[in-house]
Symmetry: D2
Subunit: 139 residues, 4 copies
């Protein structure tokens, strides 16, 4: 069991959650993406001669780290949930991951930036996890 | 000048911002609301015999603090903005402030919780500032 | 490879890091502990009749989540590090994890709070990882 | 009254605080410095031809924003405080503000970076507020 799974399994309100698998995956993806984007912003900042081409990437990395951190925290709470808050934050997280993932994909492909390739994968995974959780909430 | 105004006025990309007044107000409202909601969650937690009635309020305070913090950071960045990220995060912030403001309003009115009255005002102000900024972006 | 390892391995300044194993473990522990403490605060909040006994635990969970989040972000940056900042934040993280771990241990033992047992383990692991990283930096 | 003052004045545990003035000033300084440092990192990122000289400044801005955010949140909590956590986080905040303030001072002086001049002032104010609060706690 991951630590996210252990915490959800021991939570007194766990039985109220109908989509535990999608929720677990999304919390894990948000915390992972927050770390990866923080690290990618800093890796871009350390790229010396390429730095001028990575300004937009750094900015989107920082936004995505902040949005994923907030989303991961909101999702980690099961007590007295409010669906308007959860849904709109999940949509914001999807948008941030999409924008950052697209930018990183470009640098991974055109400039062979390997940290951007790792970051793109985390962003894509988090975007998909948000979409899957949103779908399970609509159902 | 507030510190938010001083930073925006000295930013190299300031001339690209067409709605500076709405942006300034929204950044200030987000950081204020993040502090106020963090404090209201803790004030509720210290309410002794009333605590059981404040569980939903604490949860919404914590969500609103996290969402406002992320929104205030994203808005503080002027370099290479992406409107899909800004707009969806502003909508999430509106939703979090609406839910928290409604809950605090109830406790301010029915239980005379004075910290909830202060928090309600910050949430209403931040919700309105997000709405005004969104309107100015659509224009 | 974990995502933290992948990001560190592709970072342009990776070769400047002499204690990569301790750094990796500490970043992973900080992000884990931030999630676990956020979740434990919310689990405590959902404990109904036991809530009054968990006020101090919730407060320490929230502090520990905030301190671990900040520490995990600072540690994720390899570009132009400043050792006074790193060391003092690691010491603060140790203190927050110690206080939260001690409180959770008590509730795990005396009230059989299973989320506190999981949280205690994350806090102990993070405290030890901070200590190990500090030791490797002094060397 | 500022919003920080209003929240502290209505907090059920306010009477337990002996150094309210120092606490209020420090919370305000932490949230201000978190916003200012987030903004300065982004302003530096938008400086075009000067960007290569501002790498260390951006990194310290980001660290200082994260550390001040965490410190401001921890300080905003009055319920069941733990002095080891407060003190060590205040010391970490002092160190982050000192390092960031020194770096910004250099760019304000040598490169006439006006956002760095504003940021230096916020960092100095926050560093002093942390020192004053620490002194009041030792007393």
């Amino acid at each position: 069991m991951t630590h996210v799974q252990s915490m959800l399994a021991t939570h007194p309100r766990a039985s109220s959650v109908s989509n535990m698998q999608a929720l677990t995956a999304c919390i894990e993806a948000c915390f992972e993406c927050a770390q990866v984007c923080t690290s990618c912003a800093d890796a871009c900042l350390g790229e010396g001669g390429h730095l001028a081409h990575l300004v937009r990437c750094i900015r989107l990395n920082l936004d995505c780290a902040d949005v994923c951190s907030a989303t991961g925290r909101v999702l980690s709470r099961l007590t007295e949930p409010t669906s308007s808050v959860l849904k709109s934050q999940l949509e914001a997280c999807q948008a941030a991951c999409k924008a950052c993932g697209d930018e990183c994909e470009m640098h991974a492909r055109d400039m062979d930036m390997k940290h951007c390739a790792v970051c793109m994968e985390s962003c894509r995974r988090c975007e998909a996890a948000c979409q899957a959780l949103l779908s399970s909430m609509a159902a």
